[in-house]
């Protein structure tokens, strides 16, 4: 297989859970999502500028690095250009593209500061507080575990394929790739089913209940109220 045909971009450090927010993850999640919804429906300049205040504060207080927006804005430039070229009137397409790009940046900054630092553990805790069904929460945990297992198996399989057949091309390349995926799925499936049996023998999913905790404290209530007023302000300005 020639160099770079199937490359797995899997930055493992991104799986490290690093929560620095002292608020309840559920409150943070709901606040950020309601802000994002308000931004998404905003079309008026006044509403968009009011919504811009929060991301600007995050950037000015150095809670968010602007360099994280570079990749997103490369895609945004392509999107603006595509909309301008395909919209009935060029300028209208350009304006629409710019408004969407502004919204994307604002939501990215908000999520980057509020939700992404929660990591998967924080998200799991938020799902518990929000009473998301147990089956779905178990699925989140098992999927995360499956990602580790599959990525390890994939890496070793791809190395062996590269060594055995470095010059594969065309349909044969896709065939080998598909067989490899099937093989990995089968092997991992057997292992996962054995682990599931072990989990059941130990008493099911009782262990996951450790993450299901407590209610909201004063700090959470203040945060929720503050965000509710802010989001309401954006919506009212948009409708004015």
């Amino acid at each position: 297989m020639t160099k770079g045909i199937y490359t797995l971009e899997f930055p493992r450090q991104s799986l490290v859970i690093n929560s620095t927010n002292s608020n309840s993850p559920a409150v943070v999640l709901v606040s950020a999502l309601s802000y994002a919804l308000a931004v998404s429906i905003s079309t008026s300049i006044a509403a968009l500028f009011t919504a811009l205040l929060m991301p600007l504060t995050f950037i000015l207080t150095k809670r968010f690095k602007l360099s994280h927006l570079v990749k997103i804005n490369i895609v945004n430039i392509i999107m603006i250009f595509t909309l301008a070229m395909t919209w009935p009137i060029f300028i209208d397409g350009l304006v629409m593209g710019a408004v969407i790009a502004l919204r994307v940046n604002m939501i990215c900054v908000a999520f980057g500061v509020m939700i992404y630092p929660l990591g998967t553990a924080g998200m799991y805790e938020a799902l518990c507080v929000l009473n998301v069904p147990m089956k779905l929460r178990v699925l989140v945990i098992l999927t995360l575990r499956g990602i580790y297992t599959l990525s390890e198996r994939y890496s070793s399989s791809i190395t062996s394929v590269k060594l055995r057949a470095p010059e594969l091309s065309g349909m044969m390349r896709l065939k080998v790739f598909a067989y490899m995926i099937g093989n990995i799925l089968l092997q991992t499936s057997e292992r996962s089913e054995n682990i599931m049996r072990a989990v059941k023998c130990r008493g099911g999913f009782g262990g996951f209940k450790q993450s299901e905790n407590d209610g909201f404290n004063l700090r959470d209530i203040v945060m929720m109220t503050g965000y509710a007023f802010y989001v309401l302000g954006i919506v009212l300005l948009n409708n004015a």
Binding site: W87, I147, L150, L185
Partner: protein
């Protein structure tokens, strides 16, 4: 196929979330404890597939494995897609959390449609040639159905998106062909090595 944040209108976002919640509830109802492991595994494979670059000539593309997901998981496909996309948004910032409902509806809907239309024919297909052709078409269909659903939501947000939607559909054709080939080989291999995986 991921729709970015900030594009869809409020009403489309709410409609998609409603569809996703219904699909996920239906999927969870059809997922017993024993099937959870397989669902999680396929969900992980779907997550990783989007990180695998497959070269097509001078450029490269990401696989989606929507058709194999639909064929293997059947009715349980919505929860698997929802979880995989949520983890993608959290770990790699692909898509987003507000449009998670829309993206799940687009991809889960395409995978579920593939299961409904092609599932039985692929599982019970008599001749190898018949299964081969059906699984290739299923692979192509899943990608194009996903792109069409995404295009429909963009069109519902603003009619002027139609021009961009046409480009989106054309851009997905090479990926659909690659997916068709991968689905065909994968299904043929699974039918031979582990037919119970498709049952």
């Amino acid at each position: 196929m991921h729709i970015s944040e900030g594009i869809l209108s409020g009403s489309v976002l709410v409609t998609c979330w409603a569809g996703t919640i219904i699909g996920t509830a239906y999927g969870l109802k059809h997922t017993d404890t024993d099937k959870t492991v397989r669902t999680a595994l396929i969900s992980s494979a779907f997550f990783l597939a989007s990180l695998v670059n497959v070269r097509i000539g001078p450029s490269s593309t990401h696989l989606s494995l929507l058709a194999p997901m639909g064929i293997i998981l059947g009715n349980s496909v919505f929860p698997a897609v929802l979880v995989a996309l949520m983890l993608q948004a959290l770990l790699f910032h692909f898509g987003g959390l507000l449009v998670l409902g829309a993206n799940t509806f687009v991809m889960g809907g395409a995978a579920l449609l593939t299961h409904v239309i092609f599932g039985k024919a692929i599982r019970e297909g008599k001749g190898r040639a018949h299964v081969r052709v059906m699984s290739f078409i299923a692979g192509v269909f899943a990608v194009m159905a996903g792109a069409s659903l995404a295009g429909a939501f963009l069109g519902m947000t603003d009619r002027n998106f139609i021009g961009a939607v046409k480009i989106l559909l054309i851009a997905h054709v090479p990926l659909a062909l690659v997916e068709g080939a991968v689905t065909m080989f994968l299904v043929m291999w699974l039918k031979r090595a582990a037919p119970e995986f498709l049952s």
